[in-house]
């Protein structure tokens, strides 16, 4: 108990502004204490906001459990899907979550390879977010099956039926893409955690905490050989994860692009989906990080610099997404295909025109505000825009899935789609599940990479004399 007081920040919390990734006055110890202290806190000392947030998330997890139980009991008929719109919320949510799950690996792997130092304080958190998002995403393809108890038939395994999955189906590719991505993300995240777990082990105030972190730290002793191997492994994993960032959403986009449905059958889909995924991933990172740094007083660890960089990245990726929309529209006209052009016209003016209008405003119009530095440096504005983009990206998947399906080739089979209360309950439930995992993660593991921030401290220390010299 008494020990925890040691972890109350001793350094004044100051946001150093958009140029620095660490607040002033930090040394190795303060960084460790600050980050580890959040995890060491006894449960009853948790901030009120944490308790309330975790409780609400837990309620939603229960809603999710009810929705899924009812789903298994009755069948997918409880949802709004029908013929012709045989895919609905489950697929929309799957793609949405998978998209969100892109930021972590992108930040950790690609920005790591590109040596973007500002990534360090948000990489751990984004990786965790990625994992949880992928966990949410991974549930949907199974829940969405008519006979979910047979989901394992999609896995190639030797069986007495002598039957293998059908390799031409994009859904089969999904199985591999998503499971590979999930595995790699877990390993990447865990490997990155090991030095920090060891640090947590060493500084833990309670024996049981020490033991728990010791088991997780896998015997890390901070030796030079460990560090040598660690860095090699991390680099390799980063190299492995980088193509996966591109491949997962490319393959998810194939679910649509391979089909011959107007609105799905488009070559622009792979890059456009990847861009969309990164877009939504960054938006989600900001959506979560901004309140977190406020509640846990981490303004000196996650600084305006981070928010500014993420906003710029978001803006850039958002423009790629806008280009995707533009190309989709252009080709629906340029192709001269009557089904394609009808599809796009129907998307804009048909019964789901509202969703398209909202999509364009959420994903293209509103985020243009990020061009302005004043907006980027206004934390509340950035946070609101990030939420708008999250909604927009969900709508994008809604538009793609529903407006393409509901009016395809033969007018006689056209129909409509409305999500039911169970659709919403399942969706909201996964958000609750995701948030609960985030809350638990923040309370038990270092949500910011300790050792990497120490590197920053070290780096700054070496830089300082230089800076002074230049002045």
């Amino acid at each position: 108990m008494a020990n925890t007081e040691n972890y109350i920040p001793t350094v004044e919390v100051v946001d150093p502004g958009p140029d620095r990734i660490l607040g002033p006055g930090h040394d190795y110890e303060t960084v460790t204490k600050r980050i580890a202290g959040v995890a060491y806190q006894p449960f009853k000392n948790s901030p009120k906001k944490w308790l309330v947030g975790a409780f609400i998330s837990f309620v939603f997890v229960n809603i999710f459990m009810v929705a899924v139980s009812y789903l298994f009991l009755r069948g997918v008929g409880i949802w709004g899907i029908n013929i012709p719109v045989a895919w609905g919320f489950a697929i929309i949510n799957f793609v949405w979550w998978i998209g969100i799950g892109h930021a972590g690996t992108l930040i950790s792997a690609i920005l790591f390879l590109l040596k973007q130092d500002w990534r360090q304080s948000i990489s751990r958190f984004s990786e965790a977010m990625t994992l949880f998002a992928v966990a949410c995403a991974g549930m949907f393809p199974i829940l969405h099956l008519g006979r979910p108890w047979l989901a394992y038939w999609l896995i190639p395994y030797p069986n007495s039926m002598w039957l293998w999955p059908q390799p031409r189906s994009p859904l089969e590719w999904d199985v591999f893409a998503v499971s590979t991505y999930a595995t790699t993300s877990v390993v990447f995240w865990y490997v990155g955690l090991i030095p920090d777990l060891a640090a947590m082990r060493d500084a833990a105030p309670h024996l049981w905490q020490k033991r728990a972190y010791a088991i997780l730290a896998l015997g890390w002793r901070n030796s030079a050989i460990h560090w040598h191997r660690y860095q090699k492994a991390y680099l390799l994993l980063a190299g492995l994860a980088t193509p996966l960032v591109l491949s997962v959403h490319t393959i998810v986009s194939f679910d649509f692009a391979i089909a011959q449905l107007p609105g799905w059958h488009t070559t622009i889909f792979p890059p456009y989906f990847v861009a969309g995924a990164v877009y939504s991933g960054f938006a989600m990172v900001l959506t979560l990080m901004i309140p977190l740094r406020r509640w846990y007083n981490m303004k000196d660890l996650v600084t305006l610099r981070h928010i500014d960089a993420a906003s710029k990245l978001m803006l850039g990726v958002g423009l790629i997404v806008a280009y995707g929309y533009g190309m989709e529209a252009f080709f629906s006209w340029y192709s001269g295909d009557k089904y394609e052009s009808f599809m796009y016209w129907n998307r804009i003016t048909g019964p789901y025109g509202w969703s398209y209008a909202m999509l364009i405003s959420c994903n293209i119009v509103i985020p243009q505000a990020l061009w302005f530095e004043r907006v980027r440096h206004n934390i509340v504005a950035v946070w609101l825009i990030s939420i708008v983009i999250n909604i927009g990206m969900w709508l994008e998947r809604f538009v793609i899935v529903v407006t393409s399906l509901h009016r395809d080739f033969l007018p006689s089979s056209w129909g409509k789609y409305v999500g039911t209360q169970w659709d919403w309950a399942t969706y909201a439930g996964t958000i609750g599940f995701f948030m609960l995992l985030i809350f638990l993660f923040v309370r038990t593991l270092p949500s910011i990479s300790i050792f990497e921030l120490r590197e920053v401290v070290h780096h700054d220390k070496q830089l300082e004399p230089l800076v002074e010299e230049t002045i």
Binding site: I83, L145, P148, W149, P165, S169, L171, F409, P411
Partner: protein, 1002 residues
């Protein structure tokens, strides 16, 4: 569940032999006496089985009322549902929808002809509004499972309509009445016969005074002879007929024309020009299937046939009207005026028709008719008044069509019957003491002005024979369960007088009785069974020594080799009555039987409820048809509730904007708004009888106004137009002769060449199945949908699920409007699975649950399906159907017997679709392989093809160049639906060719 063993099954669950019986017979002495007296069963396996005999059952009922239900003689619905519910819950605990374990034992002695897995077909007939439709009924182990038309029967020619197909579900309907009820309490048939025989003796002593028999229209020679016998002993007995969907004006007009009971029929095979005056001859009436065959044969445009031309002058769009070459919307009440104008123009001495001037198109029709003397026909509407029927006959006579295209048969309906109105007045005047209702349901279906409910209370004894405990049963002292036509012996006649002896295919499931048995009691033969009644009647008709041969032959063929009705040749002209003056602009309310539910008889039939009604594609509700102009004027939106008022009585129904309906005309249909129908048909729709006026039953003046209240409807087709696409391709006959390849003539529709297809075609060495649907003859009657549903165990999903877009039909009939909203062209297009050569569904299934067979069929493997529904998304024809819930009824045991054992009953979460009736292909492959040959063309018929009354569907082996389907696909009129997607469908279409009158163009 041992007590639910079907004793017809060769497989008796072994538990029933091993387990101790649940209920023991305690009163052995009684049983012994029963058996000794000879009343008991002659052979029994156990005492319990002996106790199941009706005699002991009744004995116990008398001793301990209410107890007999517990004797294991079948299971009642409640306890069945209870047990099923519990076992389902337990099954659910172990795994989802797992089948219970069943041990089976084979027959010790194999009954003759019965080979498990090999169906037998029996010829019989279904009486529809009294007239026979000859059938061949498929029987699996003594369970009738599928109805087919009897090719040898003149009213079937191998096809049927929707009701024959749907009738099999009525047989197994779990809501059928299952017990004799005396004033609502369970009673027994022997108690009834006991009391009723005594009553009958009393009646006979009074020479039948006060005895009234109410039946539907009947043509049964046995029944008619029984009635004659009855009126011999009871001269005062009166016979009334209640048949709400048969217009008595038809019979009375025929009587006026022929001077006696007659039936006016048409030979459309000789008709070059057909004019209908509000007639729905392709789906309504005893000869509709025959007319469909003749009519469609004359629509052929290849092979040197002179294509017929069909003018439909009609109000409510009929099935026939939808494919007319010219359709003229005329208010139903104005049809008579048009008929008279037409008659006058053709030189018939007709009184002046009141009102409007002759329509502009009349002259062209007149000229066309005059150019086809003896080869034309004018068909009056079934629900039009006598004047229209007489005028039509006069026109036909003037054109020399009588004996050519119009044939008058001697009537087969009994003489001297009375109407429902007379019954009501007799009841109200106290002339009816005993009312025996054999079938009809007048409390529901009598016009509201008759107040039948009040009238029926005035009878001292009402006995009701009915399949359902319905509205009329509620007002009867005795309710006797009626045997379904597949459960009992009877006979009936076709429109041309051909007689069929109806043989049962199954013992009455619930001890149902037939009208013959009830009448036998009155005649003083209470023990006479239906079989005896029918056979003894025929023994009086066929007195030769080889009666047994005659009997066997008649049963086998499905028709009796005795002369048909004579053909009448009435001479002398008919004076046409003067038409009453009527306001041509008054709002009229048209009453029609519902297209799928009829007069309400079929309202508890889930198949027919869910069958999209041919013109509206509505399911599970009756609508108020509103013309586009009225809708616009009154701001009525589709599915808004409309208040229809006739003489101060009002119903409310959802509006359906019906293109082609004349302004000022609203059509409502019978059959809904029931309370005594059963769990399927109760409390849906409005009851049109409740505002019907008996004096003007089929069209009357009234008002209709929108309420602005939206009503949730379940329609299977939201978009009514082709949206600028060309799923149906049509041309006028002139264009056709110029471009016989009109469906693929335009650049946009040119078929893809082999070079444009990257892949080489698969070489099919054996069979290569294919189908062609001729849009030129498809009327959209929807018989194919019901036939497919019956053949393939397709589930009924209910209104809510249909409204959500989850109906399960493997073949659907799309209906598109084209052109003018007030009188559009209508196109029907049946869409089964296309069995694409390059099927988009196959490549996207992750578990290979839908695969291509080496005979070209796109197969669906239910067992393998995990339910991703990707195949449906990628199907451009959207023919795949998904089991969003456990749609198949696995709980209602009575439905088990109905199902086709050759087709899997699908479970929850799997996709399904048309299989080209692969079970039939397979059956024939096995058969022909044993015979060392290949399947001949026409040997395998798909269910939709077999039932099609217009022969629009052809199926066969494309590798056999002589096969009909290969020849049709070689026609230039052949085209592929969505050909530009390069799916290479095997189901192809033949373009639609109109034959318009040049004089009416522009």
């Amino acid at each position: 569940m041992k007590d639910s063993v079907n004793h017809n099954s060769p497989f008796i669950p072994i538990e029933s032999l091993l387990e101790p019986p649940r209920k023991r017979v305690t009163d052995l002495q009684e049983l012994r006496e029963k058996l000794a007296s000879g009343n008991g069963p002659q052979f029994w396996r156990t005492l319990e089985e002996a106790a199941e005999s009706e005699e002991l059952h009744e004995y116990i009922e008398q001793e301990f009322p209410g107890l007999s239900g517990q004797i294991p003689q079948g299971v009642d619905r409640r306890s069945l549902l209870k047990v099923m519910g519990a076992s389902l819950a337990l099954a659910g605990a172990a795994a989802c929808t797992k089948q219970p374990k069943e041990l089976i034992v084979p027959y010790v002695r194999q009954p003759e002809n019965i080979i498990p897995g090999m169906p037998l077909f029996y010829a019989t007939a279904m009486p529809l509004h009294g007239y026979a439709r000859g059938l061949l009924v498929e029987s699996h182990l003594n369970r009738p499972t599928k109805v087919e038309g009897n090719p040898d029967h003149p009213a079937s020619l191998g096809s049927t309509g929707i009701f024959e197909q749907g009738s099999i579900l009525n047989l197994y309907d779990p809501d059928r009445s299952q017990t004799v009820l005396r004033e609502g309490r369970i009673s027994t048939y022997s108690e009834f016969t006991g009391l009723f025989s005594t009553a009958a003796q009393g009646i006979t002593e009074r020479k039948g005074e006060g005895l009234a028999i109410l039946t539907g229209v009947t043509t049964s020679p046995t029944l008619i002879s029984q009635m004659q016998a009855l009126s011999t002993s009871n001269p005062a007995v009166k016979w009334y007929v209640h048949e709400p969907s048969v217009n008595p004006a038809m019979a009375s007009a025929a009587r006026k024309i022929a001077g006696k009971n007659a039936f006016v029929s048409y030979d459309l095979s000789k008709a070059d020009v057909i004019v209908s005056l509000d007639a729905d001859f392709l789906t309504n009436g005893p000869a509709s299937v025959v007319y469909s065959k003749q009519f469609s044969a004359r629509r052929a445009v290849e092979g040197g046939n002179k294509r017929n031309r069909y003018y439909a002058i009609e109000c409510t769009q009929t099935v026939g009207g939808s494919i007319a070459d010219h359709r003229f919307p005329v208010k139903s009440s104005q049809i008579a005026v048009v008929a008279y104008q037409l008659a006058k123009a053709l030189g018939v001495n007709a009184p002046d028709a009141p009102g409007a001037a002759a329509p502009s198109w009349l002259n062209a029709v007149v000229q066309d008719l005059q150019g086809a003397k003896g080869r034309s026909v004018v068909i009056p509407g079934e629900f039009q008044p006598e004047s229209v029927h007489l005028a039509a006959h006069a026109i036909n006579a003037a054109l020399g069509n009588i004996g050519q295209t119009v044939i008058l048969y001697e009537g087969v309906e009994p003489e001297g019957t009375h109407s429902t109105e007379e019954l009501v007045s007799d009841l109200n005047n106290g002339h009816v003491e005993t009312l025996i209702i054999l079938g009809p349901n007048p409390v529901y279906s009598a016009a509201s002005t008759l107040n039948f409910k009040d009238a029926i209370r005035k009878a001292r004894l009402v006995v009701r024979l009915g399949q359902m405990f319905d509205e009329t049963s509620l007002f009867s002292h005795w309710h006797i369960p009626e045997a379904h036509y597949l459960e009992t012996w009877s006979d009936s006649r076709a429109f041309d007088g051909t007689i069929t002896i109806q043989q049962p295919l199954i013992e009455p499931l619930y001890g149902g009785k037939s009208a013959h048995e009830i009448l036998s009691i009155l005649i003083g033969k209470p023990d006479q069974t239906s079989h005896d009644a029918v056979k003894s009647y025929w023994q009086t008709q066929y007195k030769a020594a080889d009666f047994q041969t005659f009997w066997q032959r008649s049963l086998h063929d499905g028709w009796v080799n005795v002369p048909k009705s004579g053909i009448l040749n009435p001479s002398g002209s008919i004076a046409l009555p003067v038409l009453p003056a009527a306001d041509a602009n008054a709002v009229e309310i048209v009453f029609r039987p519902d297209p799928t539910i009829g007069d309400g008889t079929w309202s508890n039939n889930g198949w027919l409820q869910e069958l999209p009604k041919p013109q509206t594609k509505m399911t599970w509700d009756n609508v108020v048809l509103v013309s586009p102009k009225d809708a616009q004027a009154q701001h009525i939106a589709g599915a808004d509730l409309v208040e229809v008022t006739v003489d101060g009585r009002t119903i409310k129904g959802p509006a359906w904007i019906a293109p082609g309906l004349p302004e000022g005309s609203f059509t409502i249909t019978f059959g809904y708004g029931r309370s005594g129908s059963g769990r399927v048909g109760n409390e849906i729709g409005y009851n049109a009888y409740s505002i019907q006026n008996a004096a003007m039953p089929y069209v009357t003046t009234g008002t209709a106004k929108g309420t602005g209240v939206h009503y949730r409807i379940a329609n299977t087709q939201e978009t009514q137009t082709m949206a600028g696409r060309a799923p149906v391709r049509a041309a006028d006959i002139a264009e056709f002769s110029e471009h016989p390849n009109f469906p693929t003539n335009e650049e946009e529709f040119k078929p893809l060449t082999q070079e444009e297809n990257e892949y080489k075609p698969w070489p099919y060495t054996g069979y290569k199945w294919g189908m062609t649907i001729d849009l030129n003859v498809c009327t959209g009657c929807s018989a194919c949908i019901i036939a497919c549903q019956s053949e393939n165990n397709i589930a009924v999903v209910g209104k809510d699920q249909v409204a959500r877009g989850r109906h399960m039909h493997w073949i659907r009939v799309d209906r598109y409007y084209h052109g003018n909203l007030d009188n559009p062209e209508v196109y029907n297009q049946p869409i089964p699975c296309m069995h694409c050569e390059q099927a988009p569904c196959e490549v996207v299934c992750p578990v290979a649950a839908t695969v291509h067979s080496n005979e070209g069929i796109n197969e669906m493997v239910y067992n393998r399906c995990v339910g991703t529904r990707y195949c449906s998304n990628n199907c451009p024809y959207k023919v795949r159907r998904f089991n969003f819930y456990l749609f198949s009824d696995w709980n209602t045991q009575s439905l088990y017997g109905m199902r086709n054992p050759d087709v899997t009953v699908r479970s929850r979460g799997v996709m399904e679709k048309c299989s080209y009736c692969i079970q039939r292909i397979q059956e024939n492959k096995i058969k022909t392989e044993k015979e060392g040959r290949t399947i001949r063309d026409g040997e395998v018929l798909t269910a939709c093809q077999q039932v099609c009354p217009t022969n629009a569907i052809t199926f066969g082996n494309l590798n056999d160049k002589k096969s009909k389907v290969a020849q049709l696909q070689a026609l230039q009129r052949n085209y592929n639906l969505l050909d530009d997607l390069n799916t290479r469908p095997r189901t192809t279409y033949l373009g639609y060719v109109r034959n318009p009158n040049e004089a009416l163009k522009g």
